[in-house]
Symmetry: C2
Subunit: 160 residues, 2 copies
């Protein structure tokens, strides 16, 4: 892996963010971040737990939850809800439009497609909206989600 989170470069960047917050850099945390970095997809806590478990079997599910909560709170990880009762997590890879994407959720089978169409235009509108909302409501907006719901190709075909 080679992004913001990779092993290479001038030390792991998140180390600084951890230290600044008074958080310790522990093996479970390193492995959880590694798993998030290696997987481009919206993983559930259990998905992450299973992958982490393969690397370091003594790490428990509780630690996964607690670490994710921490990372979400620090703004390093996004938490999504696709309506199936379990949260999904994804590493933030910066604000540039190249990494920006959203989700298309099949309400029938749960399939999720990442998309990034019209991201430039979207970011423009989002930024405008964001500024307006910050001014109007005094909110400090940190992120946003945009999701489309419907039937995927396969489910649509079955229903017809």
């Amino acid at each position: 892996m080679s992004g913001r989170w990779g092993e290479r470069g001038p030390g792991k960047r998140w180390h600084r963010e951890f230290r600044g917050g008074g958080y310790r850099i522990t093996i479970p945390r390193q492995i959880i971040l590694q798993v998030l970095d290696e997987s481009k997809k919206h993983l559930s806590a259990e998905d992450i737990f299973l992958k982490v478990h393969q690397i370091y079997p003594t790490i428990g599910l509780t630690t996964v939850y607690r670490t994710l909560e921490l990372l979400v709170g620090m703004g390093l990880v996004f938490k999504f809800d696709f309506g199936d009762g379990r949260a999904r997590y994804e590493l933030c890879r910066g604000d540039d439009s190249s990494s920006h994407h959203h989700h298309l959720v099949c309400t029938n089978c749960g399939r999720i497609i990442d998309y990034a169409e019209f991201i430039e235009e979207e970011l423009e509108l989002i930024n405008k909206t964001k500024q307006e909302l910050e001014k109007k409501y005094g909110f400090e907006i940190r992120n946003h989600t945009l999701q489309f719901y419907g039937l995927c190709k396969r489910c649509k075909a079955i229903k017809e």
Copy 2:
């Protein structure tokens, strides 16, 4: 109340949709729709249950959940998730931009603000995106959500 769901007009419109689907028009269902119609806000299942309970005390929470599932499936109700572990429900009031709105969620206290800034522009972009995604992925898109997360005025002040 006077909208699409009101008592007035040429009969309750949703009756037709129910009959068409082979669903029965029962007292619990009528009351749940009434409660949704009278409240403009994203209610949790329990919120709805409590209001329904005041009108007709024998209706149970299970029925509320089952009815909401039905209504969401029929596309008459939106289900939202604001990240606090409980789903919220809101009556669909048509696709016109006058009723279209989104949510601003405080990740600290859970406060939710409805907003409708730049809705016209948004719908334009959404429609364009929607068409592109339907063509590209074969999805039949039925709706979308756009949510901003951050700190509300009060929480921002406290944290400073």
